[in-house]
């Protein structure tokens, strides 16, 4: 068996607004559109994914929050309806997805070996979180690949951003080892916004784009700074600046997803592909990917 590898790492924000705006048959709510910059960016990245040979998507989500260790989805199928607790008016999505349990178990095992508290989730009534569903739907609307969801352990709350970063790095390295041993080709997904201060009121028509803007200029400037570093392949610097960035912009990076993905990918020093940036209810969202293959890596935007 040849060594497994990570064939792509995606930063894939999950505002449910983006699925709502697409009006897929799985979602009960109906919209008149909205947030095209992000949706068109997602569509382009989804087309790139179709050209890549891979076996599974491994996604780290801030919306399965665990305080007692890191948990992995551990049953082959989940079928239910996901209703967003914050935006139930926008997102009531009927999902039917497959899990690569073998890969989940392998990552669980390697993670435990690395001294991290972990648990397999084997309750068939468990509802898969809307972060997983939104990011995976937008990256792969046909749902033709199995996924593995990894919960986000809230070390930032219990300790500090610095502790979270150390644990997320260890988790990423352990997942990488498991992927290599598995012989599989894997796409990693870090599912989150960048700056994350929301408006606490919503426009009567949520997709009314005349009402959409970033929460404040400071968040915008920080987001641009980070995206510039993505572009320039300065991921080591991004990791270093992360505690400050997260604190200043209440960023959704607080869950550890980006650090986990960067650590698993060996902290890339090559440029990221940028697919778009736009605000959603005031939060800053960037779609980006890190393509380790020099031949297929492009300058997108």
């Amino acid at each position: 068996m040849s060594k497994g590898e990570i064939v792509l790492g995606c930063l894939a924000p999950h505002p449910p607004h983006l699925v709502y705006a697409e009006n897929p048959p799985q979602n009960e709510a109906f919209s008149e559109g909205g947030w095209e910059t992000l949706r068109w960016g997602y569509a382009k990245l989804a087309r790139k994914l179709k050209t890549i040979d891979y076996d599974a998507i491994v996604i780290f989500t801030p919306h399965w929050q665990t305080y007692i260790g890191t948990h992995f989805l551990g049953l082959p199928e989940f079928k239910s309806k996901s209703v967003d607790p914050v935006f139930p008016n926008l997102f009531r999505y009927n999902y039917d997805l497959k899990v690569d349990v073998e890969l989940a178990e392998a990552m669980h095992e390697e993670t435990a070996k690395a001294g991290i508290i972990t648990k397999m989730m084997r309750n068939p009534d468990f509802r898969v979180d809307y972060g997983t569903i939104t990011s995976c739907h937008l990256l792969n609307p046909s749902w033709d690949k199995p996924i593995v969801t990894i919960s986000s352990n809230r070390n930032s709350h219990y300790y500090s951003n610095e502790v979270m970063i150390e644990q997320a790095k260890a988790l990423g390295e352990a997942c990488m080892k498991a992927i290599e041993k598995s012989g599989k080709k894997v796409v990693l997904v870090s599912s989150h916004s960048l700056s994350h201060r929301h408006f606490v009121t919503e426009a009567p028509l949520p997709e009314d784009m005349s009402r959409e803007h970033i929460y404040n200029h400071s968040q915008y400037v920080w987001d641009m700074k980070i995206i510039d570093m993505f572009r320039n392949g300065q991921m080591k610097e991004v990791v270093d600046i992360m505690p400050e960035y997260t604190e200043q912009t209440i960023a959704e990076t607080e869950a550890g997803g980006l650090i986990w993905m960067m650590a698993a990918m060996g902290v890339p020093s090559y440029p990221a592909e940028i697919y778009g940036y736009q605000s959603v209810i005031g939060t800053g969202n960037c779609i980006a990917c890190w393509d380790p293959n020099n031949e297929t890596r492009e300058l997108v935007l």
Binding site: V83, P85, R92, K119, N123, T201
Partner: protein, 308 residues
């Protein structure tokens, strides 16, 4: 004030699923379960028309959300404690009251909305509380969220709006706040028989809070909320809000008969079942310096002032 309160009594209960799903795994969980049972009987013996739940495990972002779906049916599984089992529920919601609560909140300047969707994920704390306190839907319920960004003013006003809605519909209620005391859990899996409060500091603070509750000093606890937040709460949200909401809904005073029915560890956090019943005769020695608030004026936009 108390004479206008439509609230027969208030309960403070923990959000963790162990008393519902694994009460026999340790004597403390069983003790909490027994305390829930006692409260269930007391609700049955009261002439409450409904139960209003304020849950700290239901965070909202877009204003304050109020559950209004008449029949809320699903099977809930906790994010951390999924291995303890599933929690099927079938709750009857007093939808008319929920709508009234929403408009009462709006009249006091809050952004609020009802949610009425099949499959809406009712949170662990609300599921545990309603399953144990009102298992047969003898009376309907209403559940209100805890906004992540809301601070004292909003929460006080949200509490008062609950009572406004009861007055306008002429209903009597039991109010239930779902919250831990200290909320730091162990970050590893433990043998339930070895459960204990995470630290002696957390335990001492919990004991002090319980003394106040036992003396019926709810308004004093409301005034101490910021201190409690700094001392024994993991900083997940901006403030410790349950005492604000409970005190505001029940009349902002210290005239209660307090009873601590149980206090036990739940995976390290402090879980207590407490009852507060309005009485005569006040207790307490605090002078309050945080202003009372009737109407929420919104943020003060401090950032945009003084730099022109």
């Amino acid at each position: 004030m108390s004479e206008d309160s439509q609230i027969l009594f208030g309960l403070y209960v923990p959000p963790h699923p162990q008393p519902l799903l694994s009460p026999d795994a340790n004597a403390g969980y069983a003790n909490l379960r027994a305390a829930f049972e006692t409260c269930r009987k007391r609700i049955e013996e009261s002439d409450a028309d409904l139960i209003i739940v304020y849950s700290t495990t239901w965070p909202s972002v877009v204003g304050h959300q109020i559950q209004a779906l008449k029949e809320s049916i699903w099977t809930h599984v906790d994010d951390d404690f999924h291995y303890l089992g599933s929690m099927p529920y079938n709750f009857q919601i007093d939808s008319e009251f929920s709508h009234e609560y929403c408009s009462a909140a709006e009249k006091r300047g809050l952004h609020a909305r009802t949610v009425e969707y099949e499959g809406f994920p009712i949170d662990t704390g609300s599921v545990v509380a309603l399953s144990l306190l009102n298992p047969d839907n003898r009376i309907p319920a209403c559940i209100v969220s805890s906004n992540m960004y809301a601070n004292r003013s909003e929460t006080i006003v949200l509490g008062k709006a609950a009572n406004d809605a009861l007055v306008s519909q002429g209903k009597k209620a039991v109010v239930v706040v779902v919250s831990s005391l200290s909320n730091r859990m162990f970050t590893e899996h433990i043998d339930p028989s070895e459960d204990r409060i995470h630290s002696s500091k957390d335990n001492e603070w919990n004991e002090k809070i319980l003394e106040f509750f036992a003396d019926g000093r709810l308004e004093d606890l409301s005034q101490l909320s910021r201190e409690i937040h700094g001392q024994i709460r993991v900083q997940k949200v901006v403030a410790y809000k349950p005492a604000w909401w409970l005190a505001a809904s029940m009349g902002q005073h210290n005239n209660y008969d307090g009873e601590v029915l149980a206090y036990e560890a739940l995976h390290g956090s402090g879980g207590a079942v407490i009852q507060l019943t309005p009485s005569s005769g006040s207790f307490g020695d605090k002078e309050f310096d945080e202003d009372d608030v009737e109407y929420y004026q919104g943020d003060r936009n401090v950032l945009n002032k003084g730099n022109h």
